[in-house]
């Protein structure tokens, strides 16, 4: 535990210091990694802790992004209204979808989360007058805050995102180590045992589902500010599945593993897309390789390595 805290502190210092040495392009890539890291960690709360494999997690990311984008463009670019509205919509949507999804388990849960996610994708795609359809919402402005720096610049915006990233890591760490988080792990291991012990399993899963949606919404709001643009592709199954991949690649059930997985995927996409057009093909191969050779993720592999060298 001490090693973990020390490692976290080192990572935080590094993340704070990095803008001094990175180019503005590299910094924007790092910003994206942090945002997708929040997204992956939010899914890990469901998958890694509660054992619920959602294939529709993009829904909450996308709903928050669209909410903020629409409010900022059509109503007012007011951070204190738009930002909470984005979070609220994400949490509300997961509260609604959770009612359906949590009636099921296993493969049914995968399919239903997928199908529910596609409902939102269908609306974003079809309801052109509201969402712009396939073209999405362009030119979403960055928030204006009473700060000495403008968030339209890369460095202040990076720190703005880093602040929320640290906040999310802290909040998820507290949740994971709380009695609530322990109960989720218990449910993952044996739902029946927890029921016998008197836990209201459904309620625990439902709260976890909403919390995961809320943090995915945080990632979505930050993303639309970062990217200035949102389209239906941030609601669809490919994006949802990539979140699952990030979690598994990093290590499900570890707090920071999924953020690492997100950084690897975002980095690889950027690197490979620069050399060839076939990123999707490579991504498909990564899915297969990770499933076959790294089912417990990079964190799992590192632990094995440490254990075998330690003994």
């Amino acid at each position: 535990m001490k090693a973990l805290v020390a490692g976290g502190a080192v990572a935080l210092v590094l993340l704070v210091a990095l803008p001094a040495v990175l180019s503005s392009y590299q910094l924007s890539l790092l910003t994206k990694m942090l945002i997708f890291g929040i997204f992956a960690m939010s899914l890990d709360l469901l998958l890694g802790y509660a054992g619920l494999p959602s294939l529709g997690h993009a829904a909450y990311f996308g709903v928050a992004a669209y909410t903020v984008g629409l409010l900022a463009l059509r109503v007012a670019n007011n951070f204190w209204i738009d930002f909470p509205a984005g979070l609220l919509m994400a949490a509300g949507m997961s509260a609604l979808f959770g009612l359906f999804a949590l009636r099921t388990r296993g493969s049914y849960f995968l399919m239903i989360t997928l199908a529910l996610g596609q409902v939102l994708w269908g609306i974003a795609f079809g309801w052109r007058s509201l969402t712009g359809g396939d073209d999405g919402l362009p030119s979403v402005p960055r928030p204006r805050l009473p700060l000495p720096w403008s968030l339209t610049d890369g460095v202040p915006f990076y720190y703005f995102v880093l602040f929320f990233f640290a906040l999310a890591v802290g909040a998820l760490a507290v949740i994971a180590s709380s009695p609530f988080g322990r109960a989720l792990v218990g449910i993952r291991e044996s739902e029946r045992r927890m029921e016998v012990l008197g836990y209201d399993v459904w309620r625990y899963k439902y709260v976890a589902f909403i919390l995961a949606g809320l943090f995915a919404g945080l990632a979505g709001t930050l993303f639309v500010y970062f990217n200035g643009f949102v389209s239906p592709s941030y609601l669809n199954i490919v994006f949802s599945a990539s979140a699952l991949l990030m979690v598994i690649l990093g290590g499900a059930g570890t707090l920071l593993g999924p953020a690492l997985g997100a950084a690897v995927i975002v980095g690889l996409e950027n690197f490979i897309s620069g050399y060839m057009e076939r990123w999707v093909l490579v991504l498909g191969v990564i899915y297969v390789l990770v499933t076959l050779f790294a089912p417990s993720g990079l964190v799992g592999l590192a632990r094995q390595r440490m254990r075998s060298s330690g003994s």
Binding site: P53, T104, S107, Y108, G126, R278, G284, V288, T291
Partner: protein, 284 residues
């Protein structure tokens, strides 16, 4: 009146196509508890290989043979060398098959380009039949006939043959079936291959009216999943009824409320789920 009859016919024929896809998905799940997200890829693979074969041979029948043979082989390879390693583990299965979905999608885009294409119809079904004011394209009737024949054949296979009894035993209790001497491993490969065959056949049958294009794999997969969710996983009857329901909902949805096209399919699914989480004919 003409509108309703024509749309109903279109909906039923699309429903029969969905039945071909959902039947495989459902059988595979029923026997192996395996969710194959690459099932939609078999559709576009069937369509594209069929298209290539039609260009070379000029024969729809030969194209159908080439396409279904290719897709069946792909299915066997996927089951034997990859999916078999993860029995009853839905998450690795989902990731693995999603990886294959992306691989096939990008390979198809690479090989066959991004323009939507349609397969030429077999010549005898180029014509239309006219009854009063209503015009029936014979190809649509042919698709409905294929769906009915496959449905009846599957029903007979499952209820009337020894193989069907073995499959039903495997669905109910794989361990027990194994103990009584059923080679569940071989049976699983056979059912998986057969599911892939049906999806490849779907690509050939759907090629002339739905077409093949980048993204068709995802659309077909989602539609087939909704069919299976509505009908119930593992149920043949569910795949048939679900296919008809979704085919009709989709067609009338697109015709009457084009802006909410997908919604007219997904909203009823949510309602059915809320009432019956295992679908209309699902066992559990």
């Amino acid at each position: 009146m003409t509108f309703w009859v024509t749309q109903a016919l279109n909906g039923i024929s699309f429903g029969m196509l969905l039945f071909l896809l959902a039947a495989g998905l459902s059988l595979i799940y029923g026997l192996m508890r395996m969710l194959n997200l690459a099932h939609g890829s078999y559709y576009i693979l069937g369509g594209y290989v069929g298209l290539a074969a039609v260009r070379v041979t000029g024969s729809f029948v030969l194209a159908a043979v080439a396409a279904t043979a290719t897709v069946t082989l792909v299915g066997i390879v996927m089951e034997r060398f990859f999916l078999r390693r993860f029995p009853e583990q839905e998450l690795p299965q989902a990731l693995l098959t999603f990886g294959f979905l992306l691989i096939f999608a990008d390979l198809s885009l690479w090989l066959w380009g991004g323009t939507p294409q349609t397969l030429p119809k077999p010549e005898i079904f180029e014509r239309s039949i006219r009854i009063g004011a209503i015009v029936f394209p014979t190809y649509r009737l042919f698709v409905i006939a294929i769906g009915l024949v496959v449905g009846l054949g599957l029903w007979w296979l499952q209820e009337g043959t020894r193989l069907g009894a073995m499959i039903r035993a495997g669905v109910d209790d794989a361990e027990m079936a194994r103990a009584t001497g059923v080679n569940v491993g071989l049976l699983s490969t056979a059912v998986f291959a057969f599911g892939a065959f049906l999806a490849g056949l779907g690509g050939i049958i759907g090629g002339p009216f739905v077409g093949v294009y980048p993204g068709a794999d995802f659309e077909i997969l989602e539609m087939a999943l909704v069919v299976v969710i509505i009908g119930g996983l593992g149920s043949l009857k569910g795949a048939f009824v679900g296919g008809l329901v979704v085919g009709l909902l989709d067609n009338f949805g697109k015709a009457l409320f084009p802006e909410l096209a997908l919604f007219t399919v997904f909203a009823p699914m949510a309602v059915i789920l809320a009432l019956r989480p295992t679908g209309l004919f699902g066992a559990r």
